[in-house]
Symmetry: C2
DNA sequence: CTGTTAGCGCGTTCAT
DNA sequence: ATGAACGCGCTAACAG
């Protein structure tokens, strides 16, 4: 491996001069600078980031930990985060937890060992609290995305889940539906709780009774974790006329199950959900959804994180951004 | 920051003993081991990966560089790669190039600086050759995914693009189509070339003339880079009765454009493509596709890479894996 | 403008 | 079974 000492020797200067050329620090004569640069090219020198980090105590490495890398909501978010990080000269390390706190724990471990400068985290759920405390204890700045964790006073970028759920239900009620089911993620996840609450509020507002049998609590994904949908459908007599899905993965899985039973949307039942379905939305805009600004989640979150990192003294209180939800009406709701 | 020296002092041993406990190397009495471990817990010690890498000359860090993180083909591939890496104790750093050799160059730079142990790369195109030479010069093992780069003798995992294209055309011809168009990625990408070639071969085999006007060469994505579709459609008189799309992104974009012109699939025109459309395929299996084993691309590629890394002496010639393509017939082709 | 010294946190070598 | 000295590649602080 080529080191600054190799350069120094061949250029007839000291290692320190080479270091200065590389980092553009201090005053160097144009002549020596040119010579050093030439030697660097000749030898194909590449700075060793490890050695640098060790002395500088900063890695310029950030982690983005998401729960489902195959969910377009999160990949779009990831792109937003990456763009913002690149723009400011940071590298992004991705982690994928599959909604599993154990895997999340592994990644937190990696963050700590790697001495990453910060973390952007879509927490697996309330069980993530110890992980956040770990980060705090080791002074690793972090920002939560999409979900809050009770007990963790931290910066966070959220969607307006409660309002979103209200709007979806309102839309259904407006179309004449009165028997409305909800398929949702685990109640250990703040966004799932909010969506349930919004759903209940909207029912109440419309003088509709809340019926536990109409609510299925399963998982936001990945697909293989989704169970009990079929049994749930079979257990509801009569079938609801409309469904609200807590996210896109649930909507897809529900639709698949409905189809396998010969039920069509919207002819037989209506369906609305949170989040777009990526390509599907472009190809055949069909589902009525609450569209969240996935890219902004990542982009804003990353900016908040970098602000924290770059002004560490600043105690500026907790920042909590709630992005508005936008209802997009399409063809998946039938007028009764 | 807590270091092994802090532990050593508090435990009344030398730093070396602490290091041995951490790495389970050498012989240590159970008593001192226990004491050291207790102190480590008390102080919340986390090994510094940077310092470790510096002395061990290995980072256990791998890069996965893909061209479009919002394309489900690549995210599925990424999951395969990640699973394989985790299983063998390596961390994975993702990079997203948007098919742009410049961005790819940035990531190659990052690989070198970070002293990553290896790279899994879906190259942006033939222009990636210098990047590969760079990696070679610095002895960084790499495996190419999904695309070859002429001139680079390297391990690679490919899909059988030519055969896939043949099958798609054959399927269309079998349904009575004779005017078949192709919308494809840039010819600077090996898979695009192969798909074009397979298309041409299949035409010839069926005594159909090759017509340049029926072929549009654009980009495999991301969506914002796709241009000229509308003009292309407007320029073809008469319109083809069927389209082959070189990948899923192109299929979606083409379908969107067709729809905007009031053309329906398959009623007005037929459409087949490479790669599944993720959720769309589950929700409403509609497009006839060549389905590639995306997960396997990543999984096998990662295994090859780790094999290289873990037996560096082994000169074992270039390995080239071609994964078979599977035709899945659905409803997007109309029988003429 | 340039060089010397010291140390970032850790593991290898060689002693004891 | 345990420790001391050294070096991985680099830069901050100081000297000249």
């Amino acid at each position: 491996m080529v080191t600054i000492y190799d350069i120094a020797e061949k250029a007839g200067v000291s290692a320190m001069t080479v270091s200065r050329v590389i980092n553009n620090t201090g005053r160097i004569s144009d002549k020596t600078r040119a010579k050093v640069k030439r030697v660097m090219d000749e030898l194909g020198y590449v700075p060793n980031q490890m050695a640098r980090s060790l002395v500088l105590q900063e890695t310029r490495l950030l982690f983005l930990i998401i729960t489902d890398i195959t969910n377009p909501f999160y990949t779009t978010l990831a792109r937003g985060a990456e763009d913002a990080a690149r723009k400011r000269g940071y590298r992004l390390l991705f982690g994928n937890t599959d909604e599993d706190p154990e895997k999340e724990n592994d990644y937190i471990d990696a963050v700590l060992k790697t001495r990453a400068d910060g973390v952007l985290l879509a927490p697996a759920g309330d069980a993530s609290l110890p992980h956040l405390e770990m980060l705090r204890r080791h002074n690793v700045p972090f920002v939560l995305l999409d979900r809050e964790v009770p007990g963790a006073e931290s910066d966070v970028v959220l969607g307006d889940s409660k309002e979103g759920a209200r709007q979806l239900v309102k839309q259904l009620v407006g179309a004449g539906h009165r028997r409305i089911a909800l398929i949702n993620g685990s109640r250990t996840i703040s966004s799932a709780r909010e969506r349930l609450e919004g759903y209940r509020e909207a029912l109440k507002l419309n003088d509709l009774a809340y019926d536990e049998a109409l609510v299925l609590e399963t998982s936001f994904g990945p697909r293989s974790d989704l169970t009990g949908i079929e049994a749930w459908l079979d257990g509801m007599r009569p079938l609801p006329t409309a469904f609200v899905a807590g996210n896109n993965v649930l909507a897809v899985e529900l639709m698949r199950t409905l189809r396998s039973k010969g039920l069509r949307v919207p002819e037989d039942v209506s369906l609305v959900c949170f989040d777009e379905l990526a390509s599907y939305a472009e190809m055949d805009p069909f589902l009525t959804v609450i569209s969240q600004q996935a890219y902004q989640f990542g982009h804003l979150g990353m900016q908040m994180l970098l602000d924290r990192i770059q002004s560490p003294g600043d105690p500026a209180g907790r920042r909590r951004i709630v992005l508005p939800a936008e209802l997009i009406v399409r063809r998946s709701v039938r007028q009764l």
